[in-house]
């Protein structure tokens, strides 16, 4: 299920959110759009979803142009940063919503809806909470409901906008690993927006670094770390750590041992700035 955006531009007032951007998302991939806030990654995701229409450029799904069609027509499931759950409905009804609003001919029977919703709630590990309302859940639970709700209509592509951005660090880390395992299980093509490079590197197969409406680099987490394409990427993705050392002789710097730097043996380290003092 290839999803393609070609030469897409989008301007809000005077702000150029996307400037001639082209991306291809391939079947079964988990891609992260990474960049600082305001860089255009959410706009790109919304254009891919059909929630925003670009000023210029095209969006194609499996080669067919879908630039002007809405998210449902594209078979896209969307998960919002602030969950966007239906507050007046129970968890069960939230998840069932997409099935219940299907046109009469395609709508599954009540028994099928019951079964499907319970399967999804089991998948997101919220089986016991079907009768609760969203405001009785924690942030992490709400986001899992939102994910189950999006998965209920069996989207061909799952788009997630900063899905863990509103959660605290510990929950974020848990959900991250869980999302990766879910992806490995379901193989739904997934695009995730994040400003957290650790998050992008931990779960994505491929990372697109977006800044000021342009794609700065498109590569595997490994490629980004070892071969950053621009100073911006290098600065944005690299872990920063201060390593002290002593000049031993001409061209030789002996570094002190650093216990806190988490890097596998054999990893290459790039020195970006060297401050020389006594």
């Amino acid at each position: 299920m290839t999803l393609e955006a070609s030469a897409v531009s989008k301007t809000f007032g005077k702000h150029k959110a996307l400037d001639d951007v082209s991306v291809t998302i391939r079947e079964g991939e988990l891609v992260a759009l990474l960049g600082p806030s305001g860089g255009g990654k959410t706009t790109l995701l919304r254009v891919l979803a059909g929630l925003e229409s670009p000023d210029a450029g095209q969006v194609r799904l499996r080669g067919q142009e879908v630039t002007r069609s809405g998210p449902h027509a594209r078979g896209v499931g969307f998960v919002f940063q602030h969950y966007a759950l239906f507050r007046e409905m129970t968890v069960f009804e939230n998840v069932a919503f997409g099935l219940r609003v299907k046109p009469r001919g395609e709508r599954p029977s009540e028994a099928v809806i019951q079964k499907r919703v319970h399967e999804l709630l089991a998948l997101v590990q919220l089986e016991g909470l079907a009768g609760r309302h969203p405001d009785q859940l924690s942030g992490g639970q709400r986001q899992r409901v939102a994910l189950a709700r999006a998965l209920a209509v069996e989207p061909k592509i799952l788009l997630l906008d900063e899905p863990f951005g509103a959660l605290d660090a510990k929950v974020r880390k848990e959900l991250r690993g869980w999302l990766r395992r879910l992806h490995d299980e379901l193989h739904v093509t997934t695009v995730l927006v994040t400003h957290d490079q650790e998050e992008a590197f931990e779960i994505a197969d491929r990372v697109l670094v977006i800044h000021e409406g342009r794609i700065h680099q498109d590569g595997t987490p490994d490629a980004l770390l070892t071969r950053p394409a621009s100073p911006f990427v290098a600065d944005f993705v690299s872990e920063s750590a201060i390593v002290h050392g002593t000049v031993r002789g001409s061209g030789v710097i002996a570094l002190d041992e650093v216990a806190s730097l988490e890097a596998p043996v054999g990893a290459r380290v790039a020195l970006k700035k060297v401050h020389i003092g006594r």
């Binding site: 929630l51 239906f86 507050r87 009785q136 939102a146």
Partner: protein, 278 residues
Amino acid sequence: MSVGAATRARLASPRLPGFGVSLGVTLAVVGSLVIVPLLALVVVVARAPSAHVWDVLSADRTLAAYGLSFGAAALAALLSTPLGLGIAWTLVRYELPARRLWDALVDLPFAMPTAVSGIALTQLWGPSGAFGRWLAPLGLEVAFTRAGVVLALIFVSLPFVVRTVQPVIESFPRETEEAAASLGADRLTTFRRVILPALRPALVSGATLGFARAIGEYGSVVFIAGNVPFRTEIAPLLVLVRLEEYDYAGAAAVATGMLVASAAILVILSRRGALRHG
């Protein structure tokens, strides 16, 4: 949820600074403006011969006036609710030309002397008025009928619905609507199943306020109603009629009856509203 509980706990805390002062001010204002006058009313009724009070209250003319006042107010509130929702929705969601002007116009019934609006309505809907002229050949009359009473009450209750619902529509998150669209719901389904349930509490309280206002409305009604006893005479007018006959006890009895009935209805409505949220 925990935030709500924390806020409540803080508000209930006796150590809240200024609690004594604010309680004192509240009691003084409510006491002098509301409780004392109403108490005086009840005292007048209590001192009057009970047979006379009973005669006034059980008179057919009084019962007819009560029926009209409460019935027309209820009908006006019911009709104002969809109308007010439509106006509020239009004001919030569409880029109307001169939107601020339209917005300000909604408040006009609050500010205009009710007698002025009553006379204007009578002129428009009377047999030779701009609207009434077209209805007369069809055998329809508005002015000097119960329909005229309902019309005048819609005029005064409508702004309450608009002003209660408008902020809720404004703060309704766009993402929630986008979520519904991404799950395949069309605009109508989204409105009916997602937006309307969220607006329901505001609609109920707007209708309740409009109803309360309409029960006591006098100025705009007396011109258009024609004030025929048993047919188009509202209860507040009957109070005035009794006063002009120097029957103070009778006037107080009619007023007290309205008071008790209104209080009972408002308590029931607000309890039902509270239960839905409980």
